[in-house]
Structures are given as C-alpha cells and as structure tokens.
C-alpha cells in the first residue's frame, strides 16, 4: 500500500498493511527543514520544500499544511491586522468586529489575497510532486473559531449572553466565505480537511451553547466540503463523548474525528470513542504533543507511542496522530522515536 491507499483504507474501515501515520507534524517539520519557519508556513515553494524533505525522512502517510492559513491568511483576508514574525506563528494584532454593524463589511471580504494565492500555489506544487501517492491534509477553522479571531474570544463568549444576534449573524456571513476557501483548497488538491474547532470545544463551551450557536454553521460547512469531494475530519479537545458533542458531530457528513487532549484533565481514551462511533467514522489517536514528545527522552516517547498503539491494536479505522499542534521545539530525535514506533508496529 502507498500512503494514499493506506489512509483511504483506514477511512473506509478496511484492512491496512500497517498503522497509518498521520500526526499534526507541520510546526516541527517547518522548523527542521524550513528555510525559515515563516516561509515554510506561507510561501509556496518554501512550504513545499519543507514538507517534501520531511516526508523523505519521516515517511508520513499524509502532508499536513495550513497553520499559516488559519493563523494568519484567513483572519487577514477578513480584515484583521496580522503580523508574520520569522520564527513563530502569525499573530493577530487587532481584531476587526467592534459591533454588529461591522458584520456586513466582513461579508464582502475577498478571501483570495496574495498570501492566499501563494498558499494555494504551495498546495499545487505539493500535489504535482506527490503524484497522488501521498494525500494532502489542510488545517481549516470553523466559523465560530474564526468569529473569535475577528471579534476577540472573550467578547464572543460574552456575546452569547449579551449579543447573541452578533454571534449568529457573524457566523452566517462566515459560512459561505469558509466554503469558498474550502472549495479552492479542494480544487488545488487537498484531500483531507482537518476541521479545527478550537474555541467551541467542551473545555470552553457548554453543550447547550454548542447546540444553540455552533451546530448549524458547522453542519453547513462540513456537509458542503464533503459534497465538494473532501474527507472532513473535525478536531476537538475535551470530553466530546460525555458531553454529547460527538453525537452532534456524527449527524454531519464527516469521515473521522480527531480528539484532542491538550490538557491532562481531558484525555479521552479512544477505545471509549470507538464504542461510540463504531464503524461509521475513523478515529485519529491523540498522543499528547506536550508530554514526553516535547519534554521527555526518545525512550519515553517510544514507550508512550507503543502504549497508544497497543491500546488501539486491531481497531478498524484507526490512524495514529498527535492530539493537536506539535511544537516546533520538539527535539527531532523525539519526533523520530515516535515515528519509528508507528512505522515498525506490528
């Protein structure tokens, strides 16, 4: 099996020749191989070069891009003031929605800025170079999470009580803009949309608020991206089973779930998740990117990785992954140790 076949088989609950290896690797790879961190996130050829070099050494089963897209390019296209430091992720310097009157302005945004064009060109280069043998995944953000970037997180959170129309109206104008970007990504060659739902996860929002504010726009976007041909993979931290969020997600046209465990309190056993989702959608594992991987030894990383793989042994629709963004500061020997365990696991 090549990587594309392996990932496709796992997504379809079919047998695989080995565990598919799909971590959130972008930041460390950009650090290890990028001409600069910024260039590897944003600039077509530098981005492609960094990922191709990473694939060569790590043999990932997908390419994963998009941190520059969701962190800077999309918010900037939507009128936020964004800075792009050399060595860290893009920074939103100034939000853009001060009141509900600003929402109409956002609706007229042209998403296809010069930076967006360069990012899409990077995907096209990767698609050409990979010849369909390795699929491309792209990070992407939900209308609610974008809304927090445009308005400010605290403001959106309190708006749900004090100004609910703003939260709904803003997401309503973001849905078609989101879909426009998703369509362009798919047309350039993105196979998997990694649908980041950072700000609506059950660590932050109640299930009731998720249902009242987030479920509908998320359903619209996920269903449309699937209709356009992508495999859609929502990522969400927290207790998604206990809170019933996973039940809402499973009513959407999605193909897999990537549970997060960025806090030690909310580690989700993927066996528990598997019981819930059965054979309907695949599961990405959630090794903690901030545990041994970041601060341990290669031996500790290998042991943790093995434990995750053993826990999932024999599970259909299983793809190895990390629970969220990996730090660019992860020692390369640690990332290699994790990778070795996955590639050699029987």
């Amino acid at each position: 099996m090549n990587a594309a076949e392996r990932m496709k088989a796992a997504i379809n609950m079919e047998p695989v020749d080995r565990v598919p290896n799909g971590p959130f690797y972008e930041a460390p790879i950009c650090q290890y191989y990028g001409s600069s961190f910024r260039a590897a996130l944003l600039e077509d050829q530098a981005m492609a070069d960094a990922h191709l070099a990473g694939l060569d050494e790590f043999k990932f089963d997908w390419v994963m891009v998009g941190m520059g897209l969701i962190g800077g390019i999309i918010p900037e296209a939507l009128d936020c003031k964004v800075s792009y430091p050399e060595d860290v992720f893009p920074i939103i310097e100034e939000t853009t929605i001060k009141s509900i009157e600003d929402v109409a302005r956002i609706a007229k945004s042209d998403m296809f800025t010069k930076r967006m064009d360069r990012f899409l060109k990077g995907i096209a280069i990767l698609k050409r170079e990979l010849k369909g043998e390795i699929p491309i995944a792209c990070e992407y953000i939900s209308p609610f999470t974008i809304a927090t970037r445009l308005r400010g997180t605290n403001e959106i959170m309190m708006d749900m009580y004090e100004n609910p129309d703003l939260v709904r109206d803003l997401q309503e104008v973001l849905v078609p803009l989101n879909i426009e970007v998703g369509k362009a990504l798919i047309e350039e060659g993105v196979d998997y949309i990694f649908y980041g739902a950072d700000m609506e996860c059950p660590i932050l929002l109640s299930p009731k608020h998720y249902k009242d504010f987030v479920d509908e726009p998320t359903t619209k976007v996920c269903n449309e991206l699937t209709r356009l041909g992508a495999k859609v993979l929502p990522h969400m931290c927290g207790s998604i089973v206990e809170t019933g969020i996973v039940d809402m997600l499973m009513k959407m046209d999605i193909h897999g779930i990537m549970p997060g465990n960025l806090t030690q309190e909310t580690v989700l056993d993927i066996r528990e998740l598997k019981e819930k989702v059965g054979e309907k959608i695949c599961i990405f594992d959630n090794i903690n990117p901030n545990g041994p991987l970041l601060i341990g030894t290669p031996e500790e990383v290998a042991a943790e990785t093995r434990a995750h793989l053993e826990n999932a042994k024999g599970m259909s629709g299983y793809i190895f992954s990390t629970a969220g963004t990996s730090s660019p500061n992860i020692p390369k020997e640690n990332y290699l140790a994790m990778n070795r365990e996955v590639l050699n696991f029987q």
């Binding site: 930041a27 430091p85 860290v88 992720f89 920074i91 939103i92 997180t153 605290n154 959170m157 309190m158 749900m160 009580y161 059950p202 660590i203 932050l204 929002l205 109640s206 608020h209 931290c237 207790s239 960025l262 806090t263 030690q264 309190e265 990117p289 901030n290 545990g291 970041l294 601060i295 969220g324 963004t325 990996s326 730090s327 660019p328 500061n329």
Partner: protein, 217 residues
C-alpha cells in the same frame, strides 16, 4: 434586625447570588444598598463578591459552568467591585497581595489568562495584567515596579511554552523575591517543574488557590 443566613445578612448573600446568575445591574443595586445600610465593607467584599467567585470557580472546575459563564460572573462581580472600591481602605486590597500576569511572548491567546486575572481580582488580589505577547524584560520590570508577590505566566501554544522557561529564568536572575506560576492548556506539572516554576495549575480557580498559598508562605 436584618434577616440572616448564618453569620451573614441576607442582602449580602443576595449579592453573591446575583453574581452567580450574572445579574450585574442587581449586583450594583445591592452593593449600593448595603453601603447605604452601613454594612461592613469587608463583609460586602468577602461574603458578597469574593465568595461568589469562589463558588462560580468551583462550579467551573466541576464542569458545571463553562468559560462564557465565568466571564459573565466575573463581569458582574467587577461591576460590584467598582461601586465598592471608593469605600475600601487603602490597604484592604493590596494586603491580599499583588499578582503580575500575562501571556508570554509570541502568544496572543488571552482567554485563560483573562479568566485567571478575573478570578484573582474576584479573590481580592491586586492584579496587574500586562496583556499578551509579553517578554521577560516586561515581566521583570512590572514585578519590581508593583512589588508583586506572584508572577503568573500563561501560554496556549505549545510553541510558546519554551518562552516560559526563559521568563522564569530571567525572574530568578533578577534576584527579586517573587514566585512564578505557569498555566495554560498545554502546560503540565512536569513541564512546570522542569523549568523551575514555583507552581502550576490546571485551571483558573486552582491558580487562585495556588497564589493564595504562595502568598501566605
């Protein structure tokens, strides 16, 4: 005689209940009424506002409340605190201690930091919020300038966690008598120990408890 619940007047308890249901108009009205009724200012502060945020914090920690509710409760509490402030004796707040807080350099996420800051204010601490993207020099300068007892560092990005280590080291190198605490979704106790921080908390209420403990030692 005013009606009582235990040792407290019913009206002071009502303030706490109004905070818990985010009714800041009522909080302001009740605080004003209590001031007019010559209720002890410390009692309004401690049993009305601070206790309310303690209760809200516990409900947050147990998963009963979420971030929007914490923010709304904190907003109600702060509205009451604003009314109370002119009546507080000069040392009343400062006596509980001063905390310098910020999100570390390279990280623009402020939700966790803001929650901690609000909870600390709710606990009667003086909070100097430096904002986001704060480097070591600014933390050290603010700690000295405000005679802080605790410096609290927040990060959401795994990518900015190493900056915490730089800041903790800079504070130690500056030789100032201040404790450092760290927090944020990706931060672990092991990481806090590794970088030499004095404490770590998984959530905002825990950070308040930790700060109280560190300030009392």
């Amino acid at each position: 005689m005013p009606e009582t619940k235990g040792d407290l007047t019913m009206a002071v308890k009502d303030i706490a209940e109004a905070v818990a249901v985010f009714d800041r108009v009522k909080v302001v009205e009740l605080v004003e009424a209590e001031i007019a009724a010559k209720t002890e200012i410390d009692e309004i502060l401690n049993a009305g506002l601070i206790d309310a945020m303690d209760i809200v914090g516990k409900r947050f920690s147990s998963g009963e409340l979420f971030v929007p509710e914490m923010l709304m409760a904190a907003k109600a509490m702060k509205a009451g605190l604003e009314v109370l402030k002119p009546h507080l004796s000069a040392g009343a707040v400062a006596a509980k201690g001063t905390v310098v807080i910020g999100t570390v350099k390279g990280d623009l996420h402020d939700i966790g930091k803001n929650l901690v800051a609000l909870m600390m204010e709710g606990a009667g601490l003086e909070v100097v919020d430096l904002g986001v993207d704060i480097d070591a020099e600014k933390f050290v300068k603010a700690a000295v300038e405000h005679n802080a007892g605790v410096v609290a560092l927040s990060a959401l990005l795994t990518t900015t966690m190493p900056t915490m280590e730089i800041i903790v080291a800079a504070i130690k190198e500056a030789g100032i008598a201040v404790k450092t605490i760290v927090g944020g979704a990706p931060v672990t106790e092991a990481f806090a120990d590794q970088i030499g921080a004095d404490g770590f908390s998984t959530d905002a209420p825990g950070a308040v408890e930790l700060t109280r403990k560190l300030l009392s030692t």
